[in-house]
């Protein structure tokens, strides 16, 4: 269309012709050439066009040469000031709004953190945390700055555990080491709040990894069953899948009831920690850190836990998840075999392929698949070789998982995370009521630090941990029941309504 537009330029005849009204220029008319090209017209006509552009929020530019058209107006101090203020304020207002919103967020986060701390630790602990100085002249400690961090930490820790580990583990370790260097008695029992603060993320990460290693494969299988997908385990073909799974379920719930359970647990723990790497690292650490003896335990713990953390972080990858599942299955199978006295053999078998967990993060997908396939026949020569669906399976499970994480679930888990301090405090209170009195009240005579259960924060902490474990177990159990019920479900048959009388009589039956 552009050529036509060029054609449409008004003819530049000797007397000017207004491009709006097409009238000719006459002596008395106020005339204007708004742009360098041929555009010209009556001041009034052009201005009415400009007003239209202004109404439609369009730029003032020449329709032909696209150069900018400037509009002058008589100088008026009020208008000038108003324009200046408008421009300046337009550039500042987003900043004002943002900082307003941020400070609002800060205040509400602080309020939440404060309330959570008060509920969790009780008034005494709350005051001890926030106030320093004499009892007579208390000073607000700088620790109140950390209150707004409580809510984000809870949310991240509960909903994105991997990210939580990423954020929490390094600073708390640094804090732990720092405290260790300054306080000879840092590691002591009963633990101080600082020690708990430094170690709790590790405990949490360890718990989550235990769960992931031992329960998650089972849970994924339950998910598949609930979703009505076919079993992908080879043993299902052997007709005893159900019983075997139930046996495994029992073992997992009991934390390894028999010898076999414990051996399986150890096997999986070794795989979990990726022992070859840990050994190496610990040796190096020992060489370097000979003089600083006291740093030892924590350093070692950290190295080991770092493996855990790596592992967990990497399992976002589907292939990785598959490898972990395979390991966990093997561990569980080792638990079964252990009762037959073959645990030694299994251990050796399992130790070798342990690195599978790690390489998958760097290697191409098909390589990981190859490994997984190589592994399956190696560990169970008697079993049928793993068919292709075994490899494809975890992807399905993962997708299932993602589908389930709907918006509503996100809302639920956010609310649950934020309620966690209150729930913990409630559980701590229940503990206080349930346990004998001497365990929950600090003795006035002893000058030792009160025991963990003798202080409110400690009871809340333990209560919260118990709550989390029970909650996870209950969730798993409901899933299990649902999966068991799944094949037993039937569509309820409703009596056909042939006539009013038969319908009513059938209701009475």
């Amino acid at each position: 269309m552009s050529p036509d537009r060029a054609d449409s330029a008004p003819e530049a005849s000797a007397p000017g012709r207004c491009f709006v009204c097409l009238g000719d220029q006459e002596g008395s008319d106020e005339w204007v050439n708004p742009c360098p090209c041929s555009l010209e017209g009556h001041q009034e006509c052009v201005m009415s066009w400009i007003s239209e552009l202004e109404r439609e929020n369009k730029p003032f530019e020449c329709p032909i040469c696209k150069s900018k058209i400037t509009v002058d107006e008589p100088f008026d101090p009020a208008l000038a000031i108003s324009n200046r203020i408008y421009k300046a304020f337009s550039s500042v207002s987003p900043l004002v709004l943002c900082s307003g919103a941020l400070s609002g967020l800060y205040v509400s986060l602080t309020a939440y953190g404060s309330a959570a701390l008060l509920v969790f630790a009780g008034p005494e602990g709350y005051a001890r945390f926030l106030l320093t100085g004499d009892a007579d002249r208390p000073v607000l400690s700088l620790r109140y700055m950390s209150l707004p961090l409580i809510a984000p930490a809870l949310i991240v820790g509960q909903t994105l555990p991997s990210l939580g580990n990423f954020f929490f583990l390094p600073p708390t370790s640094i804090y732990g080491m720092f405290s260790l260097a300054h306080d000879e008695n840092f590691i002591s029992w009963p633990p101080s709040p600082s020690l708990v603060f430094a170690t709790f993320p590790w405990i949490r990460a360890f718990y989550r990894n235990l769960w992931r290693e031992f329960i998650r494969p089972f849970e994924l299988r339950l998910d598949r069953r609930i979703a009505g997908l076919p079993e992908r385990e080879p043993q299902a073909n052997q007709g005893q899948g159900q019983g075997q799974e139930r046996a495994r379920d029992d073992q997992e719930h009991n934390g390894g009831g028999g010898v076999g359970g414990i051996v399986g647990f150890l096997d999986a723990a070794i795989n979990l920690l990726d022992i070859p790497d840990v050994d190496l690292n610990v040796e190096i650490q020992e060489d370097v850190l000979q003089p600083g003896e006291e740093d030892h335990p924590l350093e070692m713990e950290m190295e080991m836990e770092m493996r855990v953390f790596d592992l967990e972080f990497d399992t976002d990858d589907e292939e990785q998840a598959e490898a972990v599942e395979a390991l966990a299955d093997r561990a569980a199978r080792a638990a079964n075999d252990g009762e037959q006295g073959e645990n030694q053999v299994n251990r050796e078998d399992d130790a070798a392929p342990a690195p599978v967990v790690r390489p998958a993060q760097a290697e191409a997908q098909d390589q990981a698949q190859d490994q997984a396939q190589d592994q399956a026949p190696a560990e169970a020569p008697a079993e049928a070789p793993a068919p292709a669906p075994v490899v494809a399976g975890p992807a399905d499970g993962q997708r299932q998982w993602n589908v389930h994480t709907s918006l509503r679930d996100i809302g639920n888990s956010l609310a649950a995370s934020l309620l966690l301090p209150a729930i913990s405090a409630g559980a701590g209170e229940l503990l206080r009521l349930a346990l004998p009195r001497h365990m929950t009240t600090p003795s006035l005579l002893s000058c030792r630090r009160p025991g963990l259960l003798q202080e409110m924060w400690g009871r809340s902490l333990i209560g919260g941990c118990i709550y989390v474990v029970l909650r996870d177990a209950f969730r798993l159990y409901t899933k299990y029941r649902r999966a068991v019920n799944k094949p037993l479900r039937k569509v309820r048959s409703v009596e056909r309504r042939k006539g009013g009388a038969t319908a009513s009589s059938s209701w009475q039956n």
């Binding site: 537009r5 009204c21 009415s48």
Partner: protein, 154 residues
């Protein structure tokens, strides 16, 4: 009626009566609200060869600040041209005719020439996507429709 639009249209009309580009004819201009024009393509484009199309221009009192409403109208010997930007009810999707593309430098003659070249340059013998649905459901005036002028090839 001596509005702003009338004055301008009177000027345009006198110019049109003095001579028109080939392929464009003035059919009727009895008032300053609605004019009829005929256009045909000048080359041998097989889609439009031998056909003449009738255009209806409706002018608002704000013309030429506001664009005119231009549609093809169907008569026994005046079909609606087949074009990816022309619906079968005669509504034309052309940025020139929307408030985005219109400016007072345009006039009836340039609109006709634009449409002429739009047809000449077209090689697709097809209606816009969703033509049937649009024709069945559209009750809006052309100026109230939000067209997306996304296709610069035709």
């Amino acid at each position: 009626m001596t509005s702003f639009a009338s004055k301008r249209l009177a000027k345009e009309l006198s110019k049109l009566k003095n001579g028109l580009p080939p392929g464009i004819d003035l059919i009727s201009a009895d008032n300053f609200e609605e004019w009829l024009m005929d256009i045909r393509v000048l080359d041998d484009n097989p889609i439009y060869r031998g056909e003449v199309y009738r255009l209806k221009f409706r002018f608002s009192p704000q013309y030429p600040i506001e664009p005119p409403e231009v549609t093809f109208i169907k008569q026994s010997d005046r079909p609606i041209p087949t074009h990816p930007h022309i619906y079968s009810n005669g509504i034309i999707c052309l940025d020139l005719l929307g408030s985005q593309g219109w400016s007072p430098v345009q006039n009836v003659e340039t609109v006709c020439m634009s449409l002429q070249s739009m047809l000449t340059g077209n090689s697709k013998n097809e209606r816009p996507p969703g033509d049937e649905e649009f024709v069945r459901s559209n009750r809006k005036r052309p100026r109230d429709i939000d067209f997306y002028y996304d296709d610069n090839t035709v």
